[in-house]
Amino acid sequence: MLDFFMGHYAYWFTIILLAIGLYGMLLKKNLVKKTIGLSIFQAGVILFFVSVAMKEGATVPVKTYELPVTEVSNYMNALPHTLMLTAIVVGVATLGVAFALIINIYNRYGTLNEEELLDKIQ
């Protein structure tokens, strides 16, 4: 049982991050806190990709003279890391749009609390 948890601790870490993110988005009333939850959720996915690329005893994927290229187990997988660079950019853009919308909402209603917002909309 302990093996099951310790052997997959990177995955458990991802799951906990996703859960924290979902909690923030679902239960927090403040729109900025919801956005923070969203950011944590995305970070969970990004860290999952990064941890998947990890190999024990392997080095960075830059060719060195000591290690032959033919032995791929000497090098980490670089692809998930490069994919996540793009995903991070997407996350930044999403945050930008989210905060632009939040500023707009605040200018129109004068509050960022979801309950007060819904009251004012009705």
């Binding site: 996915v45 999952f48 998930p80 995903a87 999403t94 989210a98 919308l101 707009n104 909402i105 129109r108």
Partner: protein, 497 residues
């Protein structure tokens, strides 16, 4: 030969115009509308050309970016289905943007520059999603189109930014879940290319992460497609956005997401492969059926025309997903045909509601009366065509997609879904004939006062009438020349049909 470059040319056109519009627009603000028409027009021309080329030669074009062959490089796959969808979405966007000339002066004055730039980015995202053959590249295009649609929805009424914010939260969670699914598949297959992964999946199908990935991807894309329990963002977003935004996003956005579901379920996994593990198609079919009925009933309950159309979208997307869940040739034909039909019908209906809003300042169904028939005879004629097509009366286009879907349910002996199709057609009739009655019949309570009232004819201008007329005639033509289109769809079947 330029024919083989078509898949790359279409998105590049949009990138070019997304840069050109702000640069030229700062110098001459009036011509942003013309530039956006030039952009969508060029893309429509390329997609029509590519579609013709594809029908003649029958060869799938695979475009490798930078000359890197897959699975190392990224490729665009221009097969029959992709060519068809690309042509539909670009043509609809072109027509909707023609209509936007008058709307833009009233609903978003002073924001034209930003609006047309973002709409080019939106179309870039949608075209990229349809064309790409790489799962991660698809995620990037998905986010480009989503971010643009959040921005477009936020330009609108007072409540629009809040509706857009809710869509942003739900939509980004959907995108992240899709990405997580792609990650699971990458860890077991080591590739991101759809064709390459399709070959490898049978060897690893027993792995639990493959099934988890499938579920994550269906939920993630289902959010964008507004598949029944995940549709919460849709009604508010479509109602409070400006008329052009809803006419642009409603017919195109959910259809493209449904197309991605087709790619994932039918082309990437294949029906036989997944149904051995989990009855995915049955479950999707049940949700689609509930969604169809729920959307229709909620549409009847609305008194605002745009909100009614938004709920009707939830119901209509259910038909397309139902065609997927049937997983037989009839269901596939019906679904692909319904993507075309519904794109035209919903775009036309949203354009009509935009025209009414421009002239009357509202689109409340309760305030509609029979003076509209005299004031806007052609707009109302276009509306009637679309409404009858939505209900599904021959010879209009809407009948044929429902016909093929019904044939598909009979083929699978799925009587429950057949009943859903029939009942929802009746419900469609209820919420559209309610409006038609108000427009065309005299109201007995106000009849005596009405005779003294002289109603002047006040038809909308050419830039608004032209796209509506084209779509209304298109609905009739698609209905009449239905057999030719079905023949074309026959060449799009995924392997194993």
């Amino acid at each position: 030969m330029i024919g083989s470059e078509i898949p790359a040319l279409i998105p590049v056109t949009y990138i070019l115009f997304a840069i050109l519009i702000p640069v030229i627009g700062l110098w001459k603000r009036e011509i942003t509308w013309h530039l956006s028409l030039l952009g969508t027009g060029t893309a429509t021309f390329f997609s029509a050309w590519g579609f013709m080329h594809l029908i003649q030669t029958g060869e799938t074009i695979r475009y490798f970016f930078g000359g890197w062959a897959p699975p190392i490089g990224i490729e665009f796959v221009y097969d029959g289905l992709a060519a068809f969808i690309v042509l539909v979405i670009n043509a609809i966007a072109f027509l909707v943007l023609i209509h936007s000339k008058e709307i833009s002066k009233v609903e978003f004055p002073g924001k034209k520059l930003a609006y047309y730039t973002v709409s080019m980015l939106l179309m870039l995202g949608f075209n990229g999603m349809v064309l790409t053959g790489d799962l991660f590249n698809l995620y990037v295009f998905l986010e480009i189109s989503s971010l643009s649609s959040y921005a477009l929805i936020a330009i609108g009424e007072k409540r629009a930014p809040y509706a857009a914010f809710r869509y942003l939260i739900i939509g980004t969670v959907g995108g992240s879940l899709y990405l997580l699914g792609v990650g699971f598949l990458y860890t077991v297959t080591g590739t991101l290319n759809i064709i390459d992964m399709h070959v490898m999946l049978p060897q690893v199908i027993g792995h639990s992460s493959v099934i988890a990935a499938l579920i994550l991807m269906i939920i993630g894309v289902g959010v964008k497609a507004a598949l029944f329990p995940l549709h919460g963002w849709l009604p508010d977003s479509y109602t409070f956005a400006s008329s052009t935004s809803s006419a642009l996003i409603a017919p195109i956005g959910t259809k493209v997401a449904a197309y991605i579901l087709f790619r994932v379920v039918l082309f990437l996994f294949g029906v036989e492969l997944i149904d051995h593990q989990l009855p995915v198609t049955t479950i999707i079919g049940i949700f689609a059926g509930i969604g169809i009925l729920y959307g229709s009933i909620m549409a009847i309950a609305q008194s605002e025309m745009k909100k009614m159309l938004a709920y009707s979208s939830v119901s209509q997307i259910g038909y397309i997903i139902m065609g997927l869940s049937l997983a037989n040739p009839f269901g596939f034909i019906g679904a692909v045909l319904h993507i075309l039909n519904h794109a035209m019908m919903k775009a036309l209906l949203f354009l009509v509601s935009g025209s009414i809003r421009l002239k009357e300042g509202h689109s409340l169904i309760t305030k509609f009366d029979n003076s509209y028939r005299k004031k806007y005879p052609w707009t109302m004629a276009a509306f009637t065509t679309a409404a009858i097509s939505m209900v599904g009366l021959p010879p209009l286009a809407g009948f044929f997609s429902k016909w093929y879907l019904a044939l598909g349910t009979i083929d699978n002996s799925n009587w429950l879904l057949l009943a859903v199709i029939l009942i929802s057609s009746l419900l469609n009739a209820v919420y559209f004939f309610r409006i038609l009655e108000k427009i065309y019949l005299n109201n007995p309570d106000t009849e005596s006062t009405e005779e003294t009232e002289v109603v002047e004819r006040d038809e909308v201008g050419f830039t608004m009438m032209f796209p509506m007329a084209v779509m209304a005639i298109g609905l009739l033509l698609v209905g009449i020349f239905n057999a030719y289109i079905v023949n074309v769809i026959f060449n799009m079947f995924p392997a194993g049909f």
